[in-house]
Symmetry: C2
Subunit: 231 residues, 2 copies
Amino acid sequence: MYKIEFHDFFNAAFSVDCIIFGYEAGQIKALVIKRAMEPYNNYWAIPGDLVYPDEDLPVAAERVLKELTGLDHIPMHQSQTFGHPKRHPQGRVITISYFALVRIDALHVKASSFAEEISWVPINALPTLAFDHNHILESTYEILKQKLHHEPVCFDLLAERFTLHEFQQLYEFAFEQELDKANFRKKIKYIPLIGLEEKQKNVKHRPAKLYKFDRESYQKQLINGDYTFKM
Amino acid sequence: MYKIEFHDFFNAAFSVDCIIFGYEAGQIKALVIKRAMEPYNNYWAIPGDLVYPDEDLPVAAERVLKELTGLDHIPMHQSQTFGHPKRHPQGRVITISYFALVRIDALHVKASSFAEEISWVPINALPTLAFDHNHILESTYEILKQKLHHEPVCFDLLAERFTLHEFQQLYEFAFEQELDKANFRKKIKYIPLIGLEEKQKNVKHRPAKLYKFDRESYQKQLINGDYTFKM
DNA sequence: GCAAAAGTGTTTGGATTACACCCATGC
DNA sequence: GCATGGGTGTAATCCAAACACTTTTGC
């Protein structure tokens, strides 16, 4: 055991990485940016950057995401922290990863000066990413899958109005197994959904009814304690 | 948006906090130490300390736990990271919390020079702790409760040999609801337990049979995929 | 009419619940 | 004997899986 002075401990930096998941064309995807700076110039990476000395972590995550992708007002949750001494080539940098779920169809991302390109990549076909970002992304996807079982986060990924088939496909993709249509619909019977009058258009089969998630009555049921989401 | 030099980011420190849960006398408890140094001298706190500049996080968690409590070879899992700029009075210190589950009956803790006292406190009757440690401990307890539902972590808390009633009481404590004895036993029917010949002794009622968790066959079932733990 | 997907009903077996009952031990 | 918890059986009910069937659209 060696002894160092108290102030010598204060020579680390830390960053936040923002993992943004979306759902598009039947696949769960993550947002990556192409780095336009060293280290790992030209590599795809999770959007992330260093945290300012007196900045709180969730605030930093919001700021960094906005600076790199233009995305604003996206609620994020903390995922995990990665701190291997050699994970960053330029010094000791601990990174705290945050993640968010978004509706890809409802937003427009734009690359910043530090990121020359932005792309949504399917979670099951990731390229080699900068730093330890493959590891970070994969282990955060595991957390997402856990949440899909026990919390209604699926409705953060689906478009605001969705068909029951799209809803089903999301779960089929995440858990890599086909589901029976009739049984799926029985299972979701108690999830508060609002059935809209509107239907699908321009499909070459019977148009499906569109639904919205009824957040308000879900909240009420949560407080009453007479319902717990489970899939 | 302000701009600071790259090297000026490197003036933060980080620590690990080790939350040790145990089960004793029908209650889930956490290990706390009484601090024998500033800041928060004489407060109860989660065992934790600063991480060395080139030390990996899980290694630091193990070292710190051993230094402060004498506990060694306790497998720990990362929980959450807390980084509010004002959470530590002496500078910017981010803390990464780790947690572990132990069998209180099977270990002996000893206070170090930095901790003049060690105590197990029931999770539902915590004193005011140093720093933001109440918050850290409570939110980690929520994670433990989640795990109790989906992973066989209960057997890390129970004594190696336990009665089915002790097993049931652990769940009754965690989820704050009474369970039917007969139904509880049907529910755990598929958990691989080894029934021992031995029985309880010196109890003033019919002695209960003792059981062990069959880790080996649980692992096999996991790999085969023909069983998932659920409580 | 045909293809394709939407949408619903029925049967079955297994799990969950509530509850009742008997058993072994210390005092 | 009696208090205390250990341990088991039963009937009613609910739920999930498998599968078949009808409906509505575009072409």
